[in-house]
Symmetry: C2
Subunit: 244 residues, 2 copies
């Protein structure tokens, strides 16, 4: 039973700094993943303070590209560095994490659609590894190279791997209404549109609105929850908001 | 006109050390590539002292795999480190080099055949980047993860990108006969089999014999030559041995 789990960039990094890991939060997340003993897990993490500042410095977004190899290498290099730290934390706890770098695995077509074959990810999973993907800069036909968000990866992986469950672990406890209460279920975007603003931080990849819209398009049920509920989700629970 | 060029691991590293770049040799190669102004170039480099010792330490070869995530990460990490140095040398000279890591781009099927989609590489090329691939450790169905050699990548890229020319830059001036003279043309393996021994160094990926066999299978003509002839090859010449 394949589970696609995203750790938000704001969970594993100090999002108001640059290139700074949130060590205790990452340790807690890695502990929860190791404790769950989850099989067939595919992980994604966001960019947080490693991805967004570098992308912003070079004016690169999901639609505005760069043709500067040095800009591509700087953004990608920062994300690889974060990915190494995440894989280290997992491997130290016995989780057989291996990197899977989207820059080398896929690209965008001229219309912006993502081409990311998932058979190599599936082979990693089937061989007992836990592939760890991340937001990245990817080549974009007719635009140079643009940003690929962790949320887009979650959608592509859930569809391509026919995942049974999807988890999005963010810094908030779920999708909140205007009273700050977690909305337990979302089945239509229109029902919750009025609650979903943009992200407060430097985020070239869209906030909760884009997340919810993307998750609604999946066949698999998706849970949006906070870091404290990670263990519950991995044990089969549906903490936070269930999007389906 | 796509040119696939491999820089041998023994060209860019000190092959009898561990994790040691041959700085002057790499600088010369990068100078030659920058001076050529070659368009539509796709580069591959071997593992040399970054790949082979780590693979040997974990008993990983093209056929013997590992299921240890830490072994995979060690071998892959060393190759990424070398790849970064190669890309640095190229970018410093104005060549728009970007990494393309085979561990994330492909895998082996259970019968050992390589699955490496080349459309992402082609998009990089078409957007004006110079993708730089490298020997790596890749997931292998039913075997964990095994070594993918630079020579195998050359073959997969030449076929997948419909390359017009292939160059293999090694530390020797071509394929040598038993008198140490460069054989100018090879059209049949049987004609030269008696001259082709194994590689002297720690090399899990096969020596000249495997190289020649693989190049004979290509549609594109392939030149095998030494570092001093790199500029000549990039200018359209056919130094060393022409395999076709």
């Amino acid at each position: 039973m394949t589970v696609v789990l995203k750790l938000g960039g704001s969970v594993v990094t100090e999002k108001d700094a640059t290139d700074t890991v949130d060590g205790p939060a990452l340790a807690d997340a890695a502990d929860a993943i190791a404790a769950s003993g989850a099989d067939d897990l595919v992980l994604v993490h966001g960019g947080g303070s490693f991805g967004h500042p570098h992308a912003a410095a070079h004016d690169v977004s999901r639609t505005d590209g760069t043709r500067e190899a040095t800009a591509v290498r700087e953004i990608h290099g920062a994300m690889r560095e974060l990915n190494d730290v995440v894989c280290d934390a997992l491997c130290e706890r016995g989780v057989p994490a291996v990197p899977h770098h989207p820059h080398s695995a896929g690209h965008r077509n001229a219309d912006g659609t993502l081409s990311l074959p998932t058979d190599t990810v599936a082979t990693k999973r089937d061989e007992g590894f836990v592939p760890v993907l991340h937001g990245d800069v990817v080549t974009h036909a007719d635009a140079g190279a643009t940003i690929l968000s962790g949320d887009e990866l979650v959608v592509a992986l859930a569809a391509g791997l026919d995942a049974e469950r999807v988890g999005v672990c963010s810094t908030v406890d779920g999708v909140l209404d205007d009273a700050g209460t977690v909305i337990p279920d979302i089945e239509n975007y229109a029902d919750v549109e009025r609650y979903l603003g943009g992200s407060d931080d430097t985020d070239v990849t869209g906030g909760m609105a884009a997340k919810v819209r993307a998750l609604l398009g999946l066949r698999a049920p998706a849970s949006v929850f906070g870091p404290d509920a990670l263990g519950d989700f991995l044990d089969g629970g549906t903490p936070g908001t269930l999007v389906r």
